[in-house]
Symmetry: C2
Subunit: 171 residues, 2 copies
């Protein structure tokens, strides 16, 4: 097996290569730190992800990257994304439209955000206006859940569904 490939739905972390091996700040450093190679596909995919306006599907990324590196294959996009997800550099999102979306995990300000999904046009807006209550609520919830259900909480996801500006006005 060329490198860690996750079974669909598994987190597929291989020994010594998953989350936690890439302490560097740069993506190059992170990849190298985990024993992965720096390649053109990885470079251009990360550059695309780094662009503003996230929530791209694998095919979105493939098409955009194809313009600058026409040799790219969709398979590589999937494999690269999966690798980055497992390294914790990318989040795999899902807005209920049957295809996964991906976004770069940012540090600091933008790190913590959730999404508003328009159920009609599928537009997704980042929701960053957090209030202290959320942090407090989540902290308590996690503590309670860990205790009651013996569950080790690793993360959470909050999505709001509704109608965006445009769709709400269209009757």
């Amino acid at each position: 097996m060329p490198y860690n490939r996750a079974i669909r739905g598994s987190n597929g972390q291989g020994p010594g290569r998953g989350r936690g091996c890439g302490a560097s700040q740069t993506w190059r450093g992170k990849l190298k730190g985990c024993g992965y190679r720096i390649t053109i596909p990885r470079k251009v995919i990360l550059e695309e992800l780094n662009r503003k306006g996230g929530h791209l599907s694998a095919e979105d990324i493939f098409m955009k990257v194809h313009k600058v590196y026409s040799n790219i294959g969709l398979t590589t996009v999937y494999r690269t994304l999966e690798l980055l997800v497992q390294m914790g550099m990318v989040s795999k999102l899902d807005f209920g439209d049957g295809r996964a979306r991906y976004e770069l995990v940012k540090e600091g300000e933008e790190a913590h955000h959730h999404h508003l999904v328009c159920t009609k046009c599928k537009r997704v807006i980042d929701y960053v206006d957090f209030i202290d209550e959320e942090v407090e609520f989540l902290k308590r919830a996690e503590k309670g859940l860990s205790r009651k259900h013996n569950f080790v909480i690793k993360g959470h996801s909050i999505r709001f569904f509704g109608l965006c500006n445009k769709c709400a006005n269209k009757k």
Copy 2:
């Protein structure tokens, strides 16, 4: 077109038949109120959904229902579920394992709950232990989001991800 079929990813509500036409308390009444017929597939699928231990995939439901009504087709299960989702009687859930899960929308006590998803074994636990803070937090969040992003909030979903009891102990 026999009846409203949603395009993948659309909510596909037809005129006068979507959410809001089924004021009755019984599923029979709701279907009839929306102009839909009472059929054996719909009956047995709803009975299955009404059973405890939700989060069933279309195929889960198909297999369970098949035992009591062997004539059922998987297509009908999908179409029925889609219909019920659009009528607001069923929630379509997604825990990131590539297949949708469905659960009956309950009224009252059980109405409001979220999920704990084990990222390893995919087990899902209902999380019903709500604290006042959550309600407060969500209320404010929704208000803020509506104003700032001009978004009509219809619902939300909170998921916690982590490791369940068993998986956490398996190192």
